[in-house]
Symmetry: C2
Subunit: 239 residues, 2 copies
């Protein structure tokens, strides 16, 4: 029976892909994905049947991938980062109850970004997406509030798009009720792929114009500091 691989390809560069992800792509006859993600795979997809769609075509892609497996073809549906976080693993399993599915984990954007910034996560953290397309904004606000109250490091996905310019400013306002203005914030755009840019600032001094939907923010906890250009959250040892 044919199989569906739901593959997290990591941040985008080949070197941050796992062997399992590469093999899943190699073993598939059909590759399904958002057009730029397919392009990251370069020669890995040569000679294969490609089904690619634009940005908002997630469900269309899921349906096409499931259909392809039902037609007897081993198929990989690819997402950047990890397919199990804001990715395709959920929709696929929600829709496909009668085919063989393997979820192939990958390096998520926040961990790739963290590696570029130093060790900003390191300890207990929360991951929050600011996209309110699929989640009520009130719930997102509540999560930011509670995560800040409990002094978590907070990683923020989808911080800002043309249609949602003010969400990140509102999020920062909420965090500032519980986190110090001097809390370090690391911002990485296009982490782990070409066009990567990164900068470290503080919670009260963010240049919002430098943030877009391809950026990940990492907001420190009360112990996070910056040294030698690295953003560091201590593990807790007495050093």
């Amino acid at each position: 029976m044919a199989k569906l691989y739901v593959v997290g390809i990591g941040p985008g560069g080949r070197e941050d892909m796992t062997f399992r992800a590469v093999n899943a792509v190699k073993n598939s006859q059909v590759i399904v994905g958002y057009t730029p993600y397919i392009e990251y795979l370069e020669e890995l997809v040569e000679g294969k049947e490609i089904i690619s769609t634009g940005m908002k075509g997630e469900l269309e892609r899921c349906k096409a991938a499931i259909e392809s497996v039902k037609n007897g073809k081993d198929t990989a549906i690819v997402s950047t980062g990890d397919a199990g976080l804001y990715g395709m693993a959920g929709p696929i399993l929600e829709m496909a109850t009668d085919i063989d599915v393997e979820i192939v984990p990958g390096v998520t954007a926040a961990f790739s970004a963290a590696g570029e910034l130093g060790s900003p996560i390191m300890h207990d953290f929360c991951s929050i997406s600011l996209s309110d397309l699929l989640t009520p904004w009130e719930l997102i606000e509540k999560r930011i509030e509670k995560a800040s109250e409990a002094d978590f490091v907070i990683t923020i996905y989808n911080p800002r798009s043309r249609g949602r310019k003010k969400h990140i400013e509102k999020a920062v306002e909420i965090m500032l009720k519980h986190k110090l203005p001097s809390t370090p914030v690391g911002i990485v755009k296009n982490s782990g792929r070409s066009g990567q840019e990164q900068f470290i600032t503080t919670l009260d001094d963010i240049d919002y114009e430098r943030i877009d939907m391809l950026s990940v923010l990492i907001v420190g906890n009360s112990k996070t500091y910056v040294e030698n250009g690295h953003m560091i959250t201590p593990r807790g040892y007495n050093l």
Copy 2:
């Protein structure tokens, strides 16, 4: 100048390592790590100088790795999962302010476990370690409380050891104040390596004896459900 690679090798199996992690190990003359982690690397470390220590030797390993780089040798210090989450990236950057360090991200245990269970994370989540060796227990409790109040998926590291048998029971008690007793809980032991075991239960029906320090727990949010043996947190699409 010699370089220090801080390498997350993923859950343990070779196939979940990234190409960058494998290359960092291959390019190093000296490999530093906890003995079992070195064993996962098998033939990758053949012919190299190995510095391995027991379980509580984290800081000893960090010092040895830094010393090795200062002696002019390219060195890799390896952790399972991602080195930037409860790993060695923090202590290394806290101690090593004058050497060239590259953090190599990897697949963390929670994402590996999630892939085995289905798509239990998928949406906003918090990662919490129940080890109070380096963190006050009161802060851990507060984080569990706030994360539950805001309906996050919660991933739990270090849930239970011989010396901390009751922490997980206390954590569940706190979660039950805000999460339904029927909330799905996925538990994976030795995720992504030999000896892997997994089971899905509910928050009010956890068999604590099956949980040890090599287990990861994933506690769902209010939308998480179980179908066909998969634990699924919906992304939020109307399906």
